[in-house]
Every structure is written in structure tokens, then in C-alpha cells.
């Protein structure tokens, strides 16, 4: 798993590539925590290069969404396809993130 943070004028983009699962989710949590602390207005989570996600990985994205919502921030998920999209649809997260 590889993740990259991009700071743009209108939003912060978090690009997650590869596999986000029970093994790799703990690696990205400190970055997510730091991001939430900054209270950004809009975060885009770009999952276009994510190959596989499991429930632990979904938990990271949902946690980010819920914590940002608490202070009025927004989280947008983009680029979902294949197995990650199947999981998000099953968990009805396609409605939450307007996929």
C-alpha cells in the first residue's frame, strides 16, 4: 500500500494505492489522524489505484468521514472500481459518498 497527500488550494487529496487491509490500515491511520487535526474543509480520497480493500480499510475511510463531519468538513471518495466498489456498494456507502 502506498499513500500520498496532496495539498491543493480548494481541497486536500489523499491518494491510496494498492491494498488497504488489516495489515496496511494501521500504517495510514497516523496520517488520517493528522489530517483530521487540521480540520480541512474538503478532503478527497482518491481510490482509483486501490486494488483491494477489506473491512479494516473501509473502517479507515468511514472514520475519516465521521470525524470530519463532526466539525463540518466534507469527505469525498473518488475513483472507486472493481473489488473496492463492490464492497462500498454492499455496505451502502455508495449513498454516503455519492458514488
Amino acid at each position: 500500500m502506498k499513500f500520498t497527500r496532496l495539498n491543493k488550494p480548494e481541497k486536500t487529496v489523499l491518494v491510496i494505492e494498492g491494498v488497504l487491509d488489516a495489515l496496511t490500515a494501521p500504517e495510514i491511520r497516523p496520517t488520517v489522524d493528522a489530517l483530521v487535526e487540521e480540520r480541512p474543509t474538503l478532503i478527497e480520497v482518491d481510490l482509483s489505484s486501490l486494488r483491494v480493500i477489506d473491512s479494516s480499510g473501509v473502517g479507515v475511510v468511514v472514520s475519516l468521514y465521521k470525524r470530519c463531519k463532526e466539525f463540518g468538513g466534507s469527505v469525498r471518495v473518488t475513483g472507486l472500481a472493481n473489488q473496492p466498489l463492490a464492497i462500498f456498494k454492499l455496505l451502502r456507502l455508495d449513498r454516503v459518498f455519492e458514488l
Partner: protein
């Protein structure tokens, strides 16, 4: 020549570092099922990912023991068995999550049961989790 009776077996250490290797094996086996397609593969991979997580994290523990992954491909279905000698963890006893509350954990068993047609568990030792999914020619679940 048909696939009937063919079995693929892999023994992997009960550690998360080997999880992706096993997932890739299952993803490849999905391609052997005629009429499986990409949706079939995505759903089997998702269910298997959660199943092996459960065995490693809740059952076998994060070190030491091995897990046997047995895959039985057939023309119209795929059967996967996970066999371990760790603590018994019956996923069928886990209540379904409240998806409306956006839970951040406790979703694994729900994913397994939603995406597979049959899930059965026999407490051991050895513990055996059997999951089966049929290919649908019309794409219907």
C-alpha cells in the same frame, strides 16, 4: 477435461503478511469457474479476505500456527475451506451490523455471508470454515 474433484491446497503462516498472497491465489482460482466473471471474483475475494482476517486475528492468533487454504473449483461454483488449529471462532454467531450507523468495524462476517452462497463452520480442532459460491449465468445473485 472438467475440474470436478480438483483441489488446490496452500499452507500459509497465520500472519497478516501472508494474507495478500492467499487472496491472489483465490482470485486466480476464480478464473477457473466458467461463467464466474469479474463480479463473481470481486465478491469471492472480498469474502475470503474477511474470512482469513478472522482466522488470523480472532482464531489462530497473530503468530505461530499455520492455516490451510483449500480451493475446489468446479464448472459452476467455487468452494473454499480454511482449516486451522487455533481458537475456535464461529462467524455465524456474529449479529449483523447496523449499516445505517456507519460502523467502522464488525463488518467482516457480514461481507462474508452477503457475498457467498453458503458459509458453514465446524469448531475443531481443526476448525474448518467452508464457503461456497455459485456462478450465475444470468448474473443474478
Amino acid at each position: 477435461m472438467g475440474l470436478q474433484g480438483d483441489k488446490i491446497r496452500a499452507i500459509i503462516p497465520s500472519r497478516l503478511e501472508y494474507r495478500d498472497l492467499a487472496v491472489r491465489l483465490v482470485a486466480s482460482a476464480c478464473k477457473l469457474v466458467r461463467g464466474g466473471g469479474t463480479e463473481f471474483s470481486h465478491e469471492v475475494v472480498s469474502a475470503f479476505s474477511e474470512a482469513i482476517n478472522n482466522v488470523i486475528i480472532h482464531g489462530g492468533g497473530l503468530g505461530g500456527e499455520s492455516i490451510e487454504v483449500e480451493i475446489e473449483p468446479a464448472e459452476d461454483r467455487l468452494t473454499i475451506r480454511l482449516v486451522d488449529n487455533g481458537r475456535s471462532f464461529d462467524p455465524l454467531t456474529v449479529p449483523p451490523p447496523d449499516l445505517g450507523s456507519l460502523p467502522e468495524s464488525g463488518l467482516g462476517v457480514f461481507i462474508m455471508r452477503a457475498f457467498m452462497d453458503e458459509v458453514a463452520y465446524a469448531a475443531g480442532p481443526p476448525n474448518t470454515l467452508t464457503m461456497k459460491k455459485y456462478a450465475r449465468k444470468d448474473g443474478q445473485r
